[in-house]
Subunit: 233 residues, 6 copies
Amino acid sequence: MKVCDRNWQQVEAYLKTDDRAILPLGSTEQHAQLSLSVDTILSEKISVDAAEPLGIPVFPAVPYGITPYFLSYPGTISLRQETYIRLVRDILDGLRHQGFRRILIVNGHGGNQPAGSLAIEWMADNPDTSVKFHNWWNAPLTLAKVQEIDPVASHASWMENFPWTRLADVVLPTQQKPMVDLAYMRALSPDKVKALLGDGNFGGYYQRSDEEMQAIWDVAVEETRALLEGGWA
Amino acid sequence: MKVCDRNWQQVEAYLKTDDRAILPLGSTEQHAQLSLSVDTILSEKISVDAAEPLGIPVFPAVPYGITPYFLSYPGTISLRQETYIRLVRDILDGLRHQGFRRILIVNGHGGNQPAGSLAIEWMADNPDTSVKFHNWWNAPLTLAKVQEIDPVASHASWMENFPWTRLADVVLPTQQKPMVDLAYMRALSPDKVKALLGDGNFGGYYQRSDEEMQAIWDVAVEETRALLEGGWA
Amino acid sequence: MKVCDRNWQQVEAYLKTDDRAILPLGSTEQHAQLSLSVDTILSEKISVDAAEPLGIPVFPAVPYGITPYFLSYPGTISLRQETYIRLVRDILDGLRHQGFRRILIVNGHGGNQPAGSLAIEWMADNPDTSVKFHNWWNAPLTLAKVQEIDPVASHASWMENFPWTRLADVVLPTQQKPMVDLAYMRALSPDKVKALLGDGNFGGYYQRSDEEMQAIWDVAVEETRALLEGGWA
Amino acid sequence: MKVCDRNWQQVEAYLKTDDRAILPLGSTEQHAQLSLSVDTILSEKISVDAAEPLGIPVFPAVPYGITPYFLSYPGTISLRQETYIRLVRDILDGLRHQGFRRILIVNGHGGNQPAGSLAIEWMADNPDTSVKFHNWWNAPLTLAKVQEIDPVASHASWMENFPWTRLADVVLPTQQKPMVDLAYMRALSPDKVKALLGDGNFGGYYQRSDEEMQAIWDVAVEETRALLEGGWA
Amino acid sequence: MKVCDRNWQQVEAYLKTDDRAILPLGSTEQHAQLSLSVDTILSEKISVDAAEPLGIPVFPAVPYGITPYFLSYPGTISLRQETYIRLVRDILDGLRHQGFRRILIVNGHGGNQPAGSLAIEWMADNPDTSVKFHNWWNAPLTLAKVQEIDPVASHASWMENFPWTRLADVVLPTQQKPMVDLAYMRALSPDKVKALLGDGNFGGYYQRSDEEMQAIWDVAVEETRALLEGGWA
Amino acid sequence: MKVCDRNWQQVEAYLKTDDRAILPLGSTEQHAQLSLSVDTILSEKISVDAAEPLGIPVFPAVPYGITPYFLSYPGTISLRQETYIRLVRDILDGLRHQGFRRILIVNGHGGNQPAGSLAIEWMADNPDTSVKFHNWWNAPLTLAKVQEIDPVASHASWMENFPWTRLADVVLPTQQKPMVDLAYMRALSPDKVKALLGDGNFGGYYQRSDEEMQAIWDVAVEETRALLEGGWA
């Protein structure tokens, strides 16, 4: 149930029987040859697919996140951390104002981690709520599936290349890119990051079969749905 | 050219020949029987349609805006003004960092007006830029076209009811709702606003013919495109 | 009843019988040949004149506002939007703390509009209050009176030239200045605004007769007083 | 030279020969039987009187300050410290933008002291400027004059009772109020402060002769003028 | 009772019988030939010594303060005023959350004065608390003792040279440095402050006898302890 | 080289030959039976031990961090995320102002992770710097050593029980506590966290031999020192 496909009367009716909601967090940033919106597309779609049989509303994905290291890649937008946590707090405040009490944040971008810290601070301010912060792509079962298929997988590599994130008319490299030194990269400013990373893939092949990707997706949908179904405070 | 359909290399290539970009601003808020995302859908689509022949990139629409008066309508999310202007400033900073210098903000929601003030403050901080803040729905030509068709038009009435904002399986009232007293409404807190407004339409019929709507849309696309083409600082 | 002419015991006595207050908002900015304080002088005086027969307290006018486009004109001071809305919020919080519940903000400067957005946000936080944000100079009746006298009227033109805003020993131009292109001006940074505007008048004659000005003033006082008397939440 | 009595062209002319400016800081708060605006009236008038022979522009006084301890006295408005220092910083930024480099802040209220700290922080950010923060009423010579006349003098006592701060038709107590325990008062919340202070005078007589007051004023004007004339960085 | 020498169960037990706590405020800044941490060392030690017989917990000293004038001295770190008051507010909020209601802030650095203003604002927000802001070194009895021994005493002079703040292997000047013009210094930016101050001592000898220092310390401990024992709201 | 054991002249001399500095980040929070300052003690001591042979200055540890989940444990203080990142930014700004360019942040508390995000944002603002954010206790080699000794190790268990963090006269449980469900805990507000966690240990024994602890410490010192010696941008 995407909120953009509903009106307020339908949400009002839902709130009489349930208090769960999903907020997907994305980012607009370089993903090598893939769409600049990979993180938004994936966090929103995993949310929608997981929520579908449960009828839980999925609010519009936040399309901008925290990604200062990629600032030198055209098309990348990074919010300041202070801006971002205010943004997520305001959205959580709004959800609570209307009666939502159990909120699953489905995060699609590692740099958005401060929103996870904010969620804990927010629960301390609002002790009648329960918020789960879920990095869908590195949750235990999903990550295990990825590594079972190919352990060399990373940002902008094959593991983010789904039929719904790849672009038409873009030719992908066929070789396996060696993993970049991530610890070293994290001590670099944006221009040096770009010089080190080149096309932006952190390491690994650029594409694998659609069957493998679907298998990962199925695990991720299942794992995300389980978080909606149980384990709330 | 939607940025979500492009990768960073394509944006980099664009920036060698042009420095214009579009940022649509939406809102997630009650629109009577229509989608909660009306303002996001319309600001993004008008941007895409206007930019199409020019090849100017349209960044992801900001799906949350400033709408405190509607907070008592389920599904409505309102950002605090401080949050919102920081958010828009960070996006403008990011655009400028990568070489964009002429930016058209296509706003779909009246409550987002503080972003227009921010744009002027931001130009004072960045005098090498030019930003236009465009309320697409009440720009002179578009507004004239709306009023030519039916002068009783407002938030959540027929004038926002396009084939791309109405919901399947939702029955619309057929009578013409009298205009609410807007000046009075603006002095009310959210619960009182809801009590006054009822379904959320400010006044007017709930639907008119698709031909009339297309005629308005054509004017609005044209008027928006003209802002992209000329009159920059 | 100007607050500066009262002590706390007198305000305490007033609050036992009434809960209305007025907050005038001004600006320190270029007004062509007129005083740099035109907006403060006018918003305060209209408040005092409107409140006089009702005995409603008029708090000190805020003498600085949001005016980044005029920053290149000496003597102009612009507060950042974040600063300004915090300032107005703190004042509203203080008024409410002491028992005021119906507050008329009499605004004298268009750039201060974000305070109007803040007022709505503040009512959502304080639902037992009612705040009206009143742009005295373009309220319906006042604006109609201005246009009846001379439709070419704007910032720093004759329409702001009252006996209490013009300066001694300053000679005013006698021709009618053509209206500047306001939409174009709003996409310019401060130096370019100054280059475009010259002396700062947006368009129109520089002075009209005192009788005409008094007629406008009388309408504006009446229209402002009506807002004090009725239409509260 | 009050800025409200000048236009931008006159300030522009001034800046070709000088770079000094004065910013008075006031407060709207209880002053026992005296005007709620005592601190604003005095800081502005001392500025104007000191600047008069030098032709230095006096910007509009900031009429609201930091005064949380008096919040339970009707008519008192207190800005939060964060708001206040942002406000003063924005004004200083504006002054510097236009060419002012030597700024005298004439403060009329002890609670505004954080603006003095801000001034030092601001000079570190703007090393080409020099800012003096002047508490006019307890500067060495002025304080000595007060104590010479009557050592029991304090907030809202005779020492703030000038012909330009006392109210018509208000009868003043004639006895000498014993000094309140200030250290104890500073550990109290607003309701307890009001319970302790009663009418708001901290201690001392309520009025002394106009001759004595003029003598104090003359010293204060002289002392303030000396700060304008010399000792800049 | 230093909190770093306790576990949470011990603090919990304490809170069943008492609600007082101490928060020392320090600074990391030039102190001429003395330790860069003089203000932290002294505010923490005076707190611990004063609290010792009373069993009141001393929370970890805040080691960074507001000291922009010293920014050009290597090793000096200055927090912005906004940061600092947020920091102190969060700590006060935390103390109150756990049941502390009477809090003595023992400040070791004059530049931290905005935290004193914040304490008063915080009490207005939390009227069930009482906070004392204590500048231990210039409290009446301690200051009198210092001046009895040697009236030429200041920042980084002998009056801050205790056995626990002086460094091994550092040779101290033996002459008495003339007092710097403090009013003049406060109108200077950091580089000019350093040029004026030289080694950083504001004036006075660099060292006096340990007996004299111990005598001052004894008075200061006594005076601080008295604030813990009585005079709360 | 602890900065508290140095004066500004010594730091100035150091900066002529090197530009590295260390900033330890701690926390004041429940650690079961151990000191409330475990994270501060360990991050500071690991910094000092690692830096010792290299002569790199260790600035005072920040003793308060982000720990909202533990707010119901007496003695725990949690800074808001916005406060914390401003605090760390100000310290980084100060270090850079004086010439430091390579900064190792040695973090002792997982909740402080937003400071790692801030460090990357700060490098984007200051591209001439390199900052490493080092969680000393779960860096690869140190974590491997811990798990080699006993894989059941966590917050407040034996792995944080060093001779320098345990308290005299506190008896420790001797059994192995089962690991708490951390994912579940992260969706709980503070009171529920305390109800779930009991004494605060997340899981594992409470103490192991001093030899084992020294072996871990030796690895951690070595691993931290290696970060100081190489791998800078």
